[in-house]
């Protein structure tokens, strides 16, 4: 008997295919999967979160002692004024009874205001200092209250949680902090459609309270000026979640002409104590 080890042809146990081909196909497929799954789950999570009754959202929000972080207590007059405007706007926007808005004053240079879970509104001194009249302030508050009315904070949270869970399931790791940055006291990310929806609410409110849209466009013109001063380049409209400033300014005119509303009118001045309150307790 003879024993031989003949030469065996190559590529029986291995593939002739270039490894980069498999790599690119798999990478593209995975990315597509991630995008599709996160889109679907994001939309689903946001939809489900929108079904959570506001009372439940309130309960979650009440776990946190928000007053601890705010400067409302040291500025009672200003806070009461902001609250009274918020209440007026709530009536104008026909918010459901359980949807109570609470205005909080933040004594900080940050030029910002945001709405978060439980109908909590945070307004920073930095932004209030740039407000010239009540109409502008109402535009700002009505915009934020519009977010609450359309349940944007909880929808944004639901979106974020669903996407995080999907990513953890898919990658097997990822941030264990599912809530991520979507905590109660932080700024939630709203989509461009949400911002537009809130802008619409602001316009309706302005018309309901003052009979004209004056001051609305001024608020966004102020933002635009500020951004230009800081030389912050506006990212292209597709990438940014906020509508471009100029688009927002124009949207007030468009809305006025569409509905036959007045785009300008008599401005209501801010109360006398407003500017003084902002000065107080500043060091």
């Amino acid at each position: 008997m003879e024993y031989h080890n003949p030469k065996i042809p190559e590529h029986i146990n291995t593939s002739r295919e270039h490894p980069l081909k498999e790599f690119s196909i798999l990478l593209i497929a995975t990315l597509a999967l991630v995008v599709i799954v996160s889109l679907l789950l994001g939309v689903g999570g946001s939809w489900f979160a929108g079904k959570i009754p506001f009372s439940a959202e309130n309960k979650v929000a009440s776990f946190y002692d928000i007053t601890e972080f705010t400067d409302s207590a040291s500025h009672p007059e200003l806070t009461a004024y902001l609250q009274s405007l918020a209440d007026k706007i709530s009536v104008a926007q026909k918010l459901p009874k359980e949807m109570r808005i609470t205005a909080h004053y933040m004594d900080s240079d940050t030029v910002n205001a945001f709405a978060t879970l439980g109908g909590n509104l945070f307004i920073y001194r930095g932004l209030l200092e740039k407000i010239d009249n009540e109409n502008m302030l109402v535009t700002l508050l009505a915009h934020e209250i519009g977010h609450v009315k359309h349940r944007h904070p909880i929808k944004s949270l639901g979106h974020g949680v669903a996407v995080s869970i999907a990513m953890i399931a898919l990658t097997g790791s990822g941030s264990t902090n599912i809530m991520g940055n979507a905590g109660i006291l932080t700024v939630l990310k709203f989509s461009r459609d949400m911002e537009k929806e809130a802008d619409q609410e602001a316009m309706n409110t302005l018309h309901a309270l003052y009979g004209h849209l004056g001051g609305g466009a001024d608020l966004f013109a102020m933002f635009k000026k500020m951004r230009q001063k800081m030389k912050m380049d506006e990212s292209p409209a597709l990438l940014s979640t906020h509508p471009l400033d100029q688009d927002r300014i124009d949207s007030f005119k468009t809305m006025a002409s569409e509905k036959g509303w007045k785009s300008k009118g008599k401005m209501t001045p801010l109360p006398g104590f407003f500017k003084d309150s902002l000065q107080s307790k500043r060091q």
Binding site: E10, P19, F23, A29
Partner: protein, 152 residues
């Protein structure tokens, strides 16, 4: 956001390094295997357990083993493959190289003994990283058999 970009950057670097060095080493190794096998085929290795009955043989245990490190590119592709299923081609080449290298080393030992053939050849493959397979993706393949040397 910065964390994400940073880990993306690190992953890209590791995958590219793994691809360039891993691929280079693999091609070199395969060329080397083909060359050595062509000469070593004179000394057959058989899976048969029954030695040839045409004479008296001295018997020696011979073994060859090799440890090959995986690279980041292979793991990355295999990780993606895990999602969709199918042949993990990047690991097929890795194991093929390890098996062939182990047999060649075993044959080289048999040749040094002056053996004519190796019988009853068996393979064992193991992941030497144990439970820490994420940190140290290294495989060992061990081939062993009975070398037969004709008695004079």
């Amino acid at each position: 956001m910065f964390d994400l970009l940073f880990s993306l950057f690190v992953t890209t670097i590791l995958v590219s390094l793994g691809y360039f060095f891993g691929r280079r080493a693999e091609i070199k190794h395969f060329n080397n295997l083909v060359k050595r096998e062509a000469t070593m085929n004179k000394l057959p290795a058989m899976a048969s357990r029954i030695p040839p009955g045409d004479g008296e043989y001295d018997q020696y245990l011979v073994s060859g083993s090799v440890v090959i490190a995986n690279d980041y590119f292979k793991s990355f592709v295999a990780g993606l493959r895990n999602i969709f299923g199918g042949k993990v081609r990047t690991y097929e080449t890795l194991l093929d190289r390890a098996r062939r290298e182990a047999v060649l080393r075993m044959k080289e030992k048999a040749q040094a003994l002056g053996a004519e053939a190796v019988f009853n050849v068996k393979y064992e493959a193991s992941n030497i990283s144990g439970q820490y397979n994420k940190r140290l993706p290294v495989i060992e393949v061990h081939a062993y058999g009975t070398a037969l040397k004709k008695q004079f």
